[in-house]
Symmetry: C2
Subunit: 230 residues, 2 copies
Amino acid sequence: MPETPSDQQWDSVFHRPQRQRRSESTLSRDRIVTASVALLDRDGASALTMRKVAAELGVHATSLYWYVQRREDLIDLAVDLVLSEAAGNLPGADVPWDVVVFRVAKQYYASFADHPWVAGFAGTRPLIGPNAMALSNRIVTALRESGGVEKDQMIAATAISQQVLGAATTAVVLRGLELGNSAEAADELAAAVGTPETLGIWIPPFDDVLELLVDAIRARLGTATPEKNA
Amino acid sequence: MPETPSDQQWDSVFHRPQRQRRSESTLSRDRIVTASVALLDRDGASALTMRKVAAELGVHATSLYWYVQRREDLIDLAVDLVLSEAAGNLPGADVPWDVVVFRVAKQYYASFADHPWVAGFAGTRPLIGPNAMALSNRIVTALRESGGVEKDQMIAATAISQQVLGAATTAVVLRGLELGNSAEAADELAAAVGTPETLGIWIPPFDDVLELLVDAIRARLGTATPEKNA
DNA sequence: ACCTGAACACCGTTCAAGT
DNA sequence: ACCTGAACACCGTTCAAGT
């Protein structure tokens, strides 16, 4: 009795393997980076391992190397993906230059704040992805309308992006390090040293700091505009 | 012939183990941290592993756990040790407040520049060691003499330390990442994207950026000083 | 009190092998 | 072309054991 009716029943739609259920879930660089960001947002910086990203996609760690050369590529791509929201929302050419500077800096900072792991990586990897560049460039082009000399424009642009980075890093690191190994560390820190407020590590809102800096830029670069002096 | 004269010769000052040649080279938290800094300066951030630090001291990795709870403690201690030079060289009370702010910020930045690995860790660990605190506090006390209201003093102090952190991070990350895995990465980056200068990622000297910020602080906080208005 | 040694559960990355 | 699987040389950290 090698072929019973019950044996034949196995050959049905329900038992035949589906064509490619994995065709939409096939690997791609985009899928890998998206999964990486999701993982980072959920579990923090320490969760970005080749093995965990791969597991998230139902694949072996070594498979990722077809799409990416090394782990650092994953970091760079994830960071730039996160900046795409801010970079896709840049103020138009009609907005006054000082408002542009303020607004772009604020959006840049917000991206860091929304994804705490970014600041940690920014201490190690340069922010030179296309979206990071788009943000920096929008600030630079805005400053070109300020009326200041080029050197002062560069100084101002540098000051702004460095302040964004420093502010984001400080805020993130203080609000519990990385989200991953932070729960215990933050508690311990608070216990050992007092909560940030009691310690005097209270940090003013970024807007206030940014305003100080933009005021300075306006004062130095903006005074020589033809309209104002005419 | 079990005991020949030559056998007895083995029992001499030259063959007897020395009392404790290792008494000066015995472990201690200070020795561990000093070795860590040396290792970091030499081989970069990626060299700070429990096993390598231990090897540097001729000891097993697990021995370090007697003096330190975890690897992060090593990081925090190493960072603060590096800041001790700047913290031990603070301007006196007779120096004008704006000069103090400028000078301390510059020294703070110099510590980062001298030890490129610090910036990377500062993206992950809060700078709240005693020496980091001494530097911050000197800036705060200087600002108290500025004549501004307390809120503006806090904003100014925050702006300064964030600027130092952001500037140092940017400079270090761009000048070749970490020194450790940087050689190849820097070359590859330069090849792929052009050298920083050609890309437009030229960075003005920190002094110029700092001056912009200190000018802003002077403008906002310094105008109401009794001496100036009297 | 201080250090060793074995062990555990991880890492990134390579390379040959399968399909 | 794309993914698997085994392997290599690492990690941090624990815990019992030595002295």
